[in-house]
Every structure is written in structure tokens, then in C-alpha cells.
Symmetry: C2
Subunit: 304 residues, 2 copies
């Protein structure tokens, strides 16, 4: 019989409120910890609010986006900004070599796009594939694999040896939606109740994993003054994860003209029209679907 590799000693850090205006995960975590009579730890789960100052103000961030502030540079021009210091604090406290070390970070987010309940992975780390596979197999979640995007770096979960974002939408910023809360609670309860050992993984994961790999992001069409002059086309709104091909509508411009997708390869757009990404010049991101088999050895390492 295969040796049962227990992961019960592994600590999972649950981060909510990395963006202060994404209030449903904050509420879900508070509800979850309250029902378990602890604010800080439940079984193998530790909890922390990512950006308390932004939460108190109802803003995405105070100085800079916290979830782009976990870069590894020693010297950084942003080092005195609130979020940069906060990122340093979180790693020093909960990082793998921190005072209260956690092996895994799960960062809870919402989006105004129709992403449903989804996973975001950053790069192709073996441990991330194992954890994502377990969640995908359990809940059927689609996975957005973000990689090779030099304009978007320093994500929180990258500062841990293993880590994923859970991203749920659509929901407005600063708007409580009980359905969204419920979807976060389902994930939290699963993480609390599932011991990640070899036996559970045999039952709960599949060696095959499907994910949507970031290809590029596109901006809204803009006029000579850099002002947006076309918005998401009605036929593209709420169509995240749906394949498009050459000729399919992307935007509807100010004069009512349709702007189509004109590349020859088919892509799956995600984060369509996300409110917070206008300042990043992102109207949507294109992904390519990919399937792979996770070697058994990766799971074995994951459980060590």
C-alpha cells in the first residue's frame, strides 16, 4: 500500500482584502472564522487581511496595487509606499521563513467580469499545478494561467512556495452579494475539511489538468487624447472563457461601429471589461486552452 503522505502539517494562509474594495471574500472569511470561534486560525488555515488601510477606505489600494508589490527587488523606488511595506510585512510574518510560516497562500479576490468561480495561477510551478488540480477536480473550476506578462508582476502568491488566487465574479466593488459569499465559503470549507494526503489526492485529483494560458492583454480602443472611444461589444459582455475567432465582435465604438477580433488563431478572452483594469490599460486578456498530465512525482513532492 502506498505510503500516506500527510499534508496536515502544512499551513495554508488565506488572504482576503488584498484589494480593499473586494468586500465579499472579507465577509466570507469573517463569517467562516466566526463560525469556527477563531479570528486567526482554523485547523491548518491561517487568516490575514491583505490591505487593512485600503479596506477601511473602501479602496482597491492606498498608494499602489498591493497585488503587484511582491517583487523580489531589494532596492525599489516604491519602498516607502504603504503597500510595498505591507507586502514586506506579510512575507516576514507569514512567508515560508516567517515568524508564523505558511507553506501555501490562497488569495481571495472578486472581479466585475463574469469569470464565475475561477483559479488564477502565476507561472508553472509544480506545487501550484497540484493544488489547482485538486480544486479543479473537486469543483470544476476554470484556471487562468498568467505567465510571460512583463507588465504584470509581483503578485502576492508568488512570494510563497505554492499559491493560487481564487477569483469570483461578476460582482460590483464594495457591494455585498450573498451568492458570491457562499461561493467563497464552499472553498474555505473544503480547504478546512480536506486533509491533503496521498489517498485523498488519488480520489480528489486528476492527473489531467486543463487551463487557459495568458497570451496577451488588449486595451480599449482610444482616441488621440488617450480617451477610451469604444466599449466592450454587447456580444462580448459576460462571455468570459468563451472562444472567439477571426471576425467576432470585440468592441462597439462611439459611432456604433463594431471592432472585430482579426487574428487568425482562436482565443478565449478573460477579465472582459474588469473595472479595476482600466487604469492598467486592459480591456480583456486573451488565453489559449492547454491540457497536460501532471506527473505523479509532482504530487509526491507536493505532499512532502
Amino acid at each position: 500500500m502506498e505510503k500516506l503522505l500527510k499534508m496536515s502539517s502544512k499551513k495554508i494562509l488565506i488572504v482576503s482584502g488584498t484589494h480593499g474594495n473586494e468586500i465579499n471574500p472579507i465577509w466570507a472569511v469573517d463569517k467562516f472564522t466566526k463560525s469556527n470561534n477563531s479570528n486567526l486560525e482554523v485547523n491548518n488555515l491561517s487568516f490575514v487581511k491583505g490591505n487593512p488601510s485600503a479596506i477601511s477606505k473602501g479602496l482597491r489600494y492606498v498608494d499602489i496595487d498591493l497585488n503587484r508589490s511582491f517583487s523580489k527587488k531589494v532596492k525599489d523606488p516604491n519602498e516607502n509606499l504603504y503597500e510595498f511595506k505591507r507586502a514586506k510585512f506579510l512575507v516576514e510574518k507569514y512567508g515560508i521563513n516567517g515568524l508564523m510560516p505558511c507553506n501555501i497562500a490562497i488569495d481571495l479576490h472578486t472581479t466585475t467580469s463574469s469569470m464565475g468561480t475561477s483559479i488564477v495561477m502565476y507561472g508553472r510551478r509544480e506545487a501550484d499545478f497540484c493544488l489547482a488540480s485538486i480544486l479543479q477536480n473537486k469543483f470544476g473550476l476554470p484556471i487562468y494561467l498568467h505567465e510571460k506578462d512583463i507588465n504584470q508582476t509581483g503578485f502576492l502568491v508568488e512570494a510563497w512556495p505554492c499559491g493560487l488566487v481564487i477569483e469570483i465574479g461578476p460582482v460590483a466593488q464594495n457591494y455585498y452579494d450573498p451568492k458570491i459569499v457562499e461561493n467563497f465559503l464552499i472553498i474555505l470549507e473544503f480547504l478546512q475539511n480536506t486533509e491533503f494526503n496521498a489517498e485523498n489526492i488519488r480520489f480528489n485529483s486528476s492527473s489531467e489538468i486543463t487551463f487557459f494560458v495568458h497570451q496577451k492583454s488588449i486595451d480599449y480602443p482610444r482616441d488621440e487624447d488617450k480617451k477610451i472611444n469604444a466599449i466592450i461589444h454587447p456580444m462580448r459582455v459576460n462571455m468570459d472563457w468563451k472562444i472567439i475567432q477571426k471576425g467576432d465582435p470585440l468592441f462597439l465604438d462611439i459611432e456604433g461601429k463594431t471592432i472585430t477580433y482579426n487574428e487568425s488563431h482562436k482565443v478565449y478572452p478573460v477579465f472582459i471589461g474588469e473595472a479595476a483594469y482600466q487604469e492598467k490599460n486592459i480591456a480583456m486578456s486573451f488565453t489559449k486552452k492547454e491540457t497536460m498530465n501532471i506527473p505523479k512525482s509532482w504530487f509526491n513532492s507536493f505532499l512532502l
Copy 2:
């Protein structure tokens, strides 16, 4: 034959972007003016962006809420704040005694609540009832009559002799929704194409008007630290304009307990869970339905 009192000489000021993160009316107005080859005027309509600085930042406001900054006080502690100065500018330029005088102001807003396309009136001005009646009769819009709320004053449209807010939702802040844009365009096209004269009013308005009168606003339940500890109940979400009675659920608290409406009279809640109202300590507002007949003399005065 009744004398045809023309209103074609009346100027209607269309304000978009009074809140800088309500981007759909801004887009709708830009689209409308573009299609009419003018940025500033189309027939009897003049256009202005309420809060350009907040728009450029994607924020509701910069210093204070512009749509609470039109108070009549000569001396005000807020007089150096951006929005207070902007309010003064708008009245000096477009007010009834301004450089480019307008008789009517229509202020376009969105909400994260499920208000549909609706009208907000401030107080019981005869001219407002006439204009609201025309719009209600044409489009069946529900009307929220805001009055007797000492915590909420200084609304933009109150600075004009006649004025209404058009409020459409649900839509997230900073999120373009083509359906919401379309709903604003329908209103703009009606205002452009309808000459408000006695004949049109006979056809387009009803002497009977139904509206929902503000009774009071209630806050979210909060703990001893003033932190929200109950969110809108799943059965109350998206149920704006729907009557409730004693015993109906209002909130679901952090421990899963339902908090019910406990007053004896039936009310119609509106702006349920509006994201921007958390800072105003408003979870929803209760209204009472009222119907009245508009005297013919009011319409005659309205058309003068």
C-alpha cells in the same frame, strides 16, 4: 382650442459624470453628442460633465460628494474643496441666472442596486412633478421622491428651477454595460425629439402620478467597533421597489441569523445595498407609495 404653450425655448442641461465612477451615462452622452455632431448642444439640450477631475481618476469624488455640494449656504466650511467650487461653477455657468442659462437640469446616475431605470425627485416642486409625469407616462419609470432627510441635502438638480435624476442600475462602478448605455440613450433621444408643448403633454402625460416617498434610511447592523456585522439578506438582494411587511428578512448577520423588518407599516425599500452608500451609513431606504393628481394649472405653469 387650447393655446399651445411651447417649451422649445426651454434649455435642458444634461449632466453626466457628477459621480466620476458612474461611467455609463458619460459614455451614453458622448455617443449621443457624437451622433449629433456636437459636444455641447443638441436642439434644446446642453451637456456638461459634472465632475471632470473625479472622472479622470475613476472616483466617485475627489474631496466631497459633488451631488451633496449644492447647498445654498453663503459661508461653508467646505468652500475650498474641489467639488464645492465645481458646484459654484456649474450654477454660475448653467444656472437659471447663469451665462448659458438652463431651465431644467437632468442629472444622469447609475447605481449598483437593482433600481432599473428610475427617476429621483427632490422635494415636491410643481415643475418636477410635471416633468416626472411625462417621463413616467412615456416609459413607466418608478419615481423615488426624496424629502425630509436632513442628512442628505445639496443635490445638484435642486439648484435649478426644475430638475430630476435619472438613476439606472444595477451596474458596477467603472464598468461599461451596453444595456445601461442603451437605456440612457432612450431617455436622451426622447428629450431631444419631444417638444414639451400643451398638445404633447395632453398625449404624453397623465394627470395621475405615482411615486415612492422617502421615509427613512437604515444602516447595516454594526458591532461595537462600528464594523458592519450583517449584510443584505439573500431574499432582499435585487428586490428594490418590492413591498415588505413585518417579519420579512432584511439582513443576514455574520452568524447566519436573519434580521427582519419589524415595523407594522408596509414599506418599499430602494437603493438596497448601494455600494457608494456604505460611507453614508445607508444599507437601504424605505419608501411609502403615494399617488396624486397633478392639477392642470401646474402643467400650464410648467410650459410658461
